[in-house]
Symmetry: C2
Subunit: 199 residues, 2 copies
């Protein structure tokens, strides 16, 4: 079975690699704009499904499994995307400081087999608690360069981990690829992860 990861995120690539599943990586252009009033749960599910459908369109082989994911940071009713500049990163980090927020990831698996296509999506949610950060600390962190390409302006797998005493939920979800959800969706599609692996 050919496995395609419809993502450019180095962290998702790293997770699939660590599982030792051979896969092809594919960049997809999907319209990621928010619909009015859309909740984070509905949004990440819809966008991950959109990415999976786009990636499947361009692939002719069978059997084929497309894996797509989308992750957002959400605090008090607002989405925190990737900061556009240092000023925006500083604002986001001040907002996260001393409080908690949620991370939502949607995963969609799209399977093509014997001429049929089926799709299954799921969502994981994790609450992340941040320490109280001083202005100097935020500046030092921004100067490290880590915040600028991350949703919510932090990376929990890097220096950002220094600021997180506690999470409640899946950790890999916060990094962008909820492993246990992925495994669960595979099982529901009757796909055996262990035989996908190159042992």
């Amino acid at each position: 079975m050919k496995v395609v990861l419809a993502s450019q995120s180095p962290r998702r690539v790293e997770y699939l690699r660590r599982l030792q599943i051979p896969f092809h990586q594919k960049a997809v252009e999907a319209d990621e704009s928010l619909l009015e009033g859309e909740s984070p749960r509905v949004y990440v599910r819809r966008v991950s499904a959109l990415k999976a459908a786009k990636a499947a369109q361009d692939e002719s082989g069978s059997p084929l499994l497309v894996v797509a994911a989308d992750t957002v940071v959400w605090q008090e009713g607002e989405f925190l995307f990737k900061p556009c500049n240092v000023e925006e990163a500083r604002k986001m980090l001040s907002r996260l400081s001393g409080s908690s927020h949620q991370v939502f990831s949607g995963i969609t698996l799209r399977l093509r087999e014997r001429g049929r296509e089926s799709s299954l999506s799921g969502v994981a949610v994790t609450t992340v608690f941040f320490s109280s950060l001083g202005e100097e600390e935020i500046d030092r962190y921004i100067r490290s360069g880590e915040p600028l390409d991350k949703a919510g302006a932090y990376g929990i797998q890097g220096l950002g981990g220094l600021f997180v005493p506690k999470i409640r939920g899946s950790y890999s979800n916060v990094v962008g690829f909820p492993l246990e959800l992925f495994y669960r969706l595979l099982r529901r599609m009757k796909i055996d992860l262990w035989s996908l692996r190159r042992e």
Copy 2:
């Protein structure tokens, strides 16, 4: 300031590297036997302090910062150490299946400066929830080779992450080096992590 990590754990080494703190690695032989009736909290604190003291003994330089850690898995009043063989790994995984357990890490920082030595220890605790595992799944996981050198017979940063829908507490603690605790202890010792870094 010379930084010494008194540990052979590749995961602790990896964490310090990711923080971009230059350090020397040192293997220490400490007596890690449990005292009668000792709680996991007291145990990891004591053993991490013991490791730090041992490592400091052999170092003559100043200023010197020794970092030591110890991690244990604990479930329903029992310690789960590294399994000695496949049979023990299978027993541990069956025990963890479908329930929760605790991971405790102690960190000790030992600082030598201007002829004085001081030491500070702290403990982090995380609750880890495991999915229900089938026998076949446990066998496949054991065959991957991952469980055998890990306390509790799993590695959350590898395939073991597939079995963990949720944690409550620090993730890096489960891996063996609680980052936020490390940062907090440094601050309490008036050591600025950001200036230790090689930027």
